[in-house]
Subunit: 267 residues, 2 copies
């Protein structure tokens, strides 16, 4: 049986790139969940006949709402070096471009290494109850989410936008780069927490760096991931979000940074 | 008299984009300092006849060394919305593409705002001595740098890669978006500090979010900026760096994230 994530990120080769389709299971309030679009782009690039190495960085800029149905990914392999490969891509639907971005794939070598950021102080995933997002957030139903701090329970404005959560695909699914790209965008908008209420908000640009080697993804398997994120500044209708995604065993698998448009709910 | 930063980031329109030139004052060990390339791209996009609003995000991927001399910037205005505008661009020299990236310009509105990350606990810039980078790092001579912590003085391996510094253009120059883009890349590679020695290292991809409004840039003027950065993880030949650039008055002007290739100096 095909996992719903694999259904949603399936692509077929077309001239100059790939065709993908939105999937109703990953709908967001307007258009698809950004994470599933990111995951689909990563899946497509991995399927590119010239691809070398594994995903190292992904930047995705959302230029217009993606409508339900097919979208096309035009891929340019800009340059292939000995240890890395550069992609530029544009997502389009019938009436024009809806998103664009770049990616770098890289070859990983054994080197000296160190994780400098400490693993957050948390208990095991089983020690936190599973909490659902509101029923109208379709995409969140595909994640088993256990909040450590910063859930979407609306108890008024907060001084700190941090959300830390254990989560994994639901049903559980072995982690790969497309799934990691999606999970790196699985935080609800930080403005909700600061203002204690929903507000119009949408990611403008997101960048994820994949620290995980293929062997580290395999070690993680279908276990829970620990994801944490917060904003640095809200102002002039935009806020940033910096986040980390950790494996259950304490391996830092990805770091991610995004900038988000918002309207003030109290304005 | 033209400031050396303006000389280095000068562009002329050509069919499909702009022509720029490397400037010997901003040379790095191999090719130009990445920050000056980022600043030149921002200057070019601001000069684009269709540009609307001001820089909000910039992603720049370095695909090959940029050789001394001219380089061309091919710019595609992917989509112009009411409140933001999306660019895709490729940098090339005679024999092919050397870099690529995306940028988003946006219109800033007055909204509720908050800076969540605290301003680092530091003294005034004048309380720290000016410290030069080694003489062979040409580009660094264009910055007045006063380290609060994490200077390039080599006193052996360190457990923490953090560098916090006051800096500004030298000679002082009123801050604008190109200069902010450049300063966001003005940290020496974090691997140097962790390993206590130089190592081959180069940025693969960098992303900067510009939080500063034009009015905030004007308030900053030619004062010192406080820049701080650290890595989260080093491994498999790559490390990330997350940084913040603050105005002297405590305004968070930019956040930045980059992924860097390195070779282990002890391997």
């Amino acid at each position: 049986m095909t996992h719903v994530f694999d259904e949603a990120t399936a692509v077929e080769p077309i001239a100059g790139g790939f065709r993908a389709h939105t999937h109703p299971a990953y709908n967001n309030m307007v258009g698809p969940f950004g994470g599933i679009t990111a995951g689909t782009v990563v899946a497509a690039l991995q399927a590119h006949p010239e691809a070398q190495g594994h995903p190292l960085s992904l930047t995705l800029n959302f230029a217009a709402p993606i409508k339900d149905g097919a979208w096309d990914l035009a891929v340019t392999v800009l340059r292939t070096n000995r240890t890395n490969q550069h992609f530029v891509f544009v997502l389009s639907q019938g009436d024009g471009p809806v998103a664009s971005g770049t990616a770098v794939f890289g070859t990983r070598r054994d080197t000296w290494g160190a994780t400098e950021t400490p693993f957050p102080q948390v208990q095991a995933p089983e020690d936190y109850p599973e909490q659902s997002m509101p029923d109208f957030v379709e995409w969140a139903k595909n994640y088993e989410t256990r909040f450590v701090e910063g859930s979407l329970v609306m108890d008024g404005p907060q001084d700190d936008s941090t959300t830390t959560m254990w989560l994994r695909d639901k049903p559980a699914r072995p982690l790969d780069y497309p799934a990691l790209a999606s999970i790196a965008d699985s935080f609800y908008p930080r403005i909700f927490r600061r203002r204690g209420t929903y507000a119009p908000a949408g990611t403008i640009s997101l960048t994820t760096y994949f620290h995980a080697s293929p062997a580290e993804l395999e070690q993680q398997g279908a276990e829970h991931l620990l994801a944490t994120a917060r904003a640095a500044r809200f102002g002039h209708g935009h806020f940033d979000q910096y986040g980390q995604v950790w494996g259950r065993n304490g391996t830092l698998l990805a770091t991610t940074h995004q900038i988000v448009y918002y309207k003030d709910p109290q304005a």
